[in-house]
Every structure is written in structure tokens, then in C-alpha cells.
Symmetry: C2
Subunit: 241 residues, 2 copies
Amino acid sequence: MSGTLFGIGLGPGDPELMTLKAHRLISSAKVIAYPAPDSGESFARSIASASIPSDAREIPIIVPMRVDRFPAQEIYDQASEEIAEVLATGQNVVTLCEGDPFFYGSFMYLFERLSDRFEIEIVPGVTSLTACAAQLQRPLTSRNDVLTVIPGPLPDSEIRKKIEEAQAVAIMKVGRHLTRLKALLSDMKLLEKAGYVERASLNEQKVHRLIDLEVETAPYFSMILIYKGDEAWTLPPSYSS
Amino acid sequence: MSGTLFGIGLGPGDPELMTLKAHRLISSAKVIAYPAPDSGESFARSIASASIPSDAREIPIIVPMRVDRFPAQEIYDQASEEIAEVLATGQNVVTLCEGDPFFYGSFMYLFERLSDRFEIEIVPGVTSLTACAAQLQRPLTSRNDVLTVIPGPLPDSEIRKKIEEAQAVAIMKVGRHLTRLKALLSDMKLLEKAGYVERASLNEQKVHRLIDLEVETAPYFSMILIYKGDEAWTLPPSYSS
């Protein structure tokens, strides 16, 4: 009997936004894998750290931070084999995932390498999508709104078209695209309907109306939310973050 | 000092998919509000029931089940005033919300009535979006995919256009629109890429490839997920649910 690979969503960053199930599985884990940068702390591990048993075996998956963030295939080939060896002994492996494993998550690189050989269970987590809406104090979607989630690196023309056709819009991975996206939304007369959140739910979180934001770049974990639907929701005049 | 109104996301149904924060706030609540049908059990309350203190005051918000599910304004006017009276005494009120309060949630009806008078804190929850992807065993989105979330009641022409332009699609609130949606997806040659999940994470959950589904109507809490992006993800040949 092989072990099960768990892909565990940890939520947006506040450890209290982990699910009870994530907490239970991590607290009793014997082997824990997680993505980690080549220098500095693993964000996923930092969210779960208080729940990780001190005697658990840890398998960091070292992914060099690159601009495009699409990791080299060999890193995941190697990590998958290390995890497969553990699973083959009958031991479960718990993989820590920021947000939700299947929502723009790097867990898919393990999933696509191991799902034909081993049982995999996904434990969904709170995504940054709703965590950012919560911090902006404005509903994300209601009634029969269409919601479109757009990665910030896409070209302006494509983003413009998607925004035109949706009632609610989330632009993810804003990062170094901030100035360009702000100019686009200004041109579309949507700046006042746009909210900005970085590092939602963490101590270093920032929440602003996009129109008030005076920086030129943003961290990778940042999002713009726009609401164009029928409801009269506006953003609060100021945020106390 | 007025009390705070908490809008608490409970996740898709499995009580273990509540967050630690939701569990903490509910367990120590003195006053708990939740939507309830005019006959039968409140789904939100049923998710949280094991965490509700036996001496908590409960405020059920009775919303008659109607086809369009857009509740009468008077019901929320009245519930808001009952909650406002409690908040005005300095007492907090915890409101239980299926999924996430700001993701197609009825909590917005309280929010828009009370947010100018009282402090409101939203505790985000796991949405059915990622809970369904987890059960389908297929990632929802990756890399630079555009994800579009479409309410099933929208007309075919609109749904078709949105599907054509996205890499990942979720059709929510499938319900009585199942047969029509299935015909549309068949016409678009997408039936084999579509997965169906109802009542995700509950005991009575059903998970199928849409092509295998032999019923003609679905419950309100049902979803179709389609993946059209570059990844070669297919659905498993069968589900053991």
C-alpha cells in the first residue's frame, strides 16, 4: 500500500485562515514538502510553521526566484522522485501550498508528475481572491455577475477586452506591471472602482484605493479588484492600513 | 462602543473546511445570525453546528426559497435592524455564510445595510470554486490562464462568448439549467473537458465527468468546471463517488 500525497491549501498568509483540516493533517504529518526560494524563508512553510511537528522530515523544493516564475522542469522531476520514494514506502507526504493548490499553484507540477502513480488528495484553501475582497470591504461578486480573473502579465489589449466584458474583475500577480495596469485602468475610467491589496491578511498587508497608490512597483503577491456590476458598491474613502 | 458585525465564510460544507479563525469566532460567539429557509434546516448553521455555543442567541434570517433566490428587501431590512439593535449595545454579532461572504453570498444584503453604521469584519472562506476543482482532481488554473466564473442562469449566447475567451471556466448555480448547459457544451465540443460537482465536500457529494451525467436537473449547489488551457490536463476516466 502506497502512501497518499496531500496538497494542502494554507490560505493567503494569516495562519488562522488555514482550515481545520489543513491544521489537523499538518500537525500529524511525518513528511512535509514545500516550495522554497534559493535564499530566505519559504512562504508556505512560514504560514504553517506553528503546526509543523518538530520531528517531521522536511523536503524543501528549492525553486530559484525568476522573473517569469515558471520553474525549471528538472527541479520538479527531482522533487517528485524524492516524494515518490517516500510514498512507495507507504508513508503519506503533506505538501504545503500558499492559497489553494489548484488556483495558480505550483502544486500542479507535482500533481502532473505523480497523479498516475499515487493517490492524491487536495485540501482546498482560502484564495487571495476572497481574502483581498474581505480586506477591501467590498463584495467580489453577487447575483448573476460574471467574474473574470486575469493574470497581470498579459498584454494590455487582452486585459482591456476581458475587463470590458465582466462585471467583476481580479487582476492577479500585479507586481512589476503596476504602472502599466494603472495607466490602462485610468484610460478605461475605472481607477475609482479599483482597489489594491498586497500581502492580504499578513502583518505587512497594504490596502488602498488604486487611485491613492503612489508607488510604481508592487510585490508578486498583489491584486487589483474592480467592480463594475449593477450594485452601487464603492470603495471606502480611506483604508487604515 | 458598538459591537462588530462578523461575516464568516464557512467553506463549501465539510465542517473541517472552516478556517481556524471561523471556528474560534463561532465558538466564542454570544449572538449568531444565519440565513435559513422557510422550512427545513439552515445549510450555513448545519456546517457550523458543532462549534455553536449552546447558550448563544440565534437570529435566523428566514428567506423563502424562490426560483430566482434574490430575496425580498424587507426581510433584510428587518434582519438588519434586529442585528443593529444588538450591535448598538456593544455586543458583536457573528453571521454564518456558506462559502465566502463576498463570493455570490447573501451576506452582502446585510453588509450594504449596516456598513455605514457599524464596523464589519469579513472572514474569508474556502469557495466552492476550489472545493470543486479539488474533488475533480484537476487544477482550476495555472500560469497565465484567464479564469471566468459564469452564473448558469445567463443566456446561452452570453455563456458561449465567455467560454470562448477563457482558458478556465466555472459555471455556477447549474441547477435547473443543466440540460441546456450540457447541450451548449456539447455543441461547443467541450463536453469531454467538462467536470460536474454537486454539494462539494459533503457526504452527499456527486462528482462526474459531465459527459457521464445522466440526470436532467441538478441542485442549486452544483458547478461545471471546464479547462481549455495549454496544459494537457484531462479528467480521470471515472470517479468513485
